[in-house]
Amino acid sequence: MNKINNIRDEFPILNRKINNEPLVYLDNAATSQIPISVQNVMREFEQTARSNVHRSVDTLGNIATAKYEESRNLVKELINAPSQNDIIFTSGATESLNMIAFTLGNKIIEKGDEIVITIMEHHSNIIPWQQLARKKQASLKYIELCDNGELDLADARTKITDKTKIVAVTHASNVLGVINPVGEISQIAHQHDAIMVVDGAQAVGHFPVDVQKLDADFYAFSGHKIFGPTGTGILYGKQKLLKKMPPYRFGGEMIAHVTRANATWAQIPQKFEAGTPNYTGVIGLGAAIEFLNQIGIKNIQVKEKELVKYVLPKIENIPGITVYGPKEWAKHTGVISINLAGIHPHDVATAFDELGVEVRAGHHCAEPLMTDLGITATVRASFDFYNTKADADALINAIKQTEDFFNEFR
């Protein structure tokens, strides 16, 4: 735990000011900050060993390739994948999800089939399926929420049927701060021979994830949300499905042989990584995972829980506040979405910004969920392990000051 206390030094941005106030960074669900150690690894690689991967027989090429593949191994261990050949590097969770939809999804979905997702999905886990369903005249079904803001597992049992070919569910919501029972949903999906796709963008880095325990067929997440660089993402897939999955893009490094008329594909995972990859980014991602491991995911989880336990009841006690998602702190990730009665989220966010408190106001790329909640937007504060109780107090104070400011005019 001591490690965590000094950890803010690894994130110099946390010392900056916003509008002359100390920065209180509560937009971690959008992107987390990057530690110095990760930046150093990338800079050092660029300065001492920059070279393309998988292409050359020279020393630099070998170093670059070894480091790149070491990151793959670190990802494999992070999510307990059976093999590092199950790990595909992408540009982010969005690309990972699009890749499944437009390769394997495109191959297996036929007219009349069903794709089942949930109403709390991020647009990146809705629109690819929506597009696929339209193209194939398949139907897209949504698992609904219970009144307490959790996913309705009973509804999942009725929505997933023998016609269902793909089930795609977020592991943790970027709006409601709720963790979904993806292991149980996997079981239901598999009883109907459907493929289970999990969007882990808000899960990895916050609590331990074991793709084998979840029995997920695919698992997608982004590097920039786990202290890594932007432009890095991961798609985990079970080998038997990756074998069936056609390539997503065509070009260099993804082929075995090319003739004038034809081409054959490289081994998995290279088959899915056409072109020069974001190798420096991937090496940085590896460093970010080492950083996570040093701190310990369990410690991060404990720290985030502590913060939520501290702040959520305080928020709920403020008059005029609506909290979306579960009301119990124990069921919450560090993501807390609220509204202040009669004050538009954008006005709230501007006021918070004046106080140095950086949150996100908007629909959080989850418009169907907003529509169901009967709102257009929320204010979202998202905590990470480097946040402090002082940050939580600053949030509470900002809420109170904002209410006072706007209520004066009523």
Partner: protein, 153 residues
């Protein structure tokens, strides 16, 4: 830690207008109408107006949800353009957008905006410029007959 600077943006008149917006609802049998959408916050506004045969705006109204800035701006815009010719209204829209972008404008031009000129400080809150310009953009679309947003294929 306080919100004093916020008063630059949220002047009393803006909050009053936001809490009691004028010209809300829909005009019956409008000659022109448009929908605008701010994808960054999800605000949607619907505008209707009636032009007489001399292209004068005889009635104008808006409906929809939004933040204080977009509600106040829509309310003030509709008040200032009501009774103006289409040409005058488009000119006002240009003045407003220049003001919001921080471009040069004469005091005389600013006066033409009526209450809407209180949004001059919006420039200091770059993230909110769109909230203020949304309804003026709608005015342009409505009067210049921009095509309705089509669904993607």
């Amino acid at each position: 830690m306080n919100l004093d600077r916020l008063k630059l943006l949220y002047k009393d008149i803006i909050l009053e207008q936001a809490n009691n917006p004028q010209n809300t609802g829909r005009i019956r049998n409008p000659t022109n109408e448009t929908n605008v959408y701010n994808p960054s916050c999800g605000d949607k506004l619907h505008f209707t107006c009636t032009l007489d045969k001399n292209k004068k705006i005889t009635a104008i109204a808006f409906e929809g949800e939004g933040c204080s800035i977009s509600q106040a701006s829509a309310s003030m815009m509709t008040q200032v353009v009501k009774g103006k010719s289409t040409k005058q209204a488009i000119e006002l829209s240009k003045i407003f957008s220049d003001m919001a972008m921080g471009k040069k404008h004469s005091q005389e031009d600013l006066e033409k905006l009526g209450d809407a000129q209180v949004l001059i400080n919006i420039m200091q809150f770059p993230a909110r410029i769109k909230c203020a310009t949304l309804s003026w953009w709608a005015l342009d679309r409505m009067l210049l007959g921009e095509k309705r947003d089509k669904k993607n294929d």
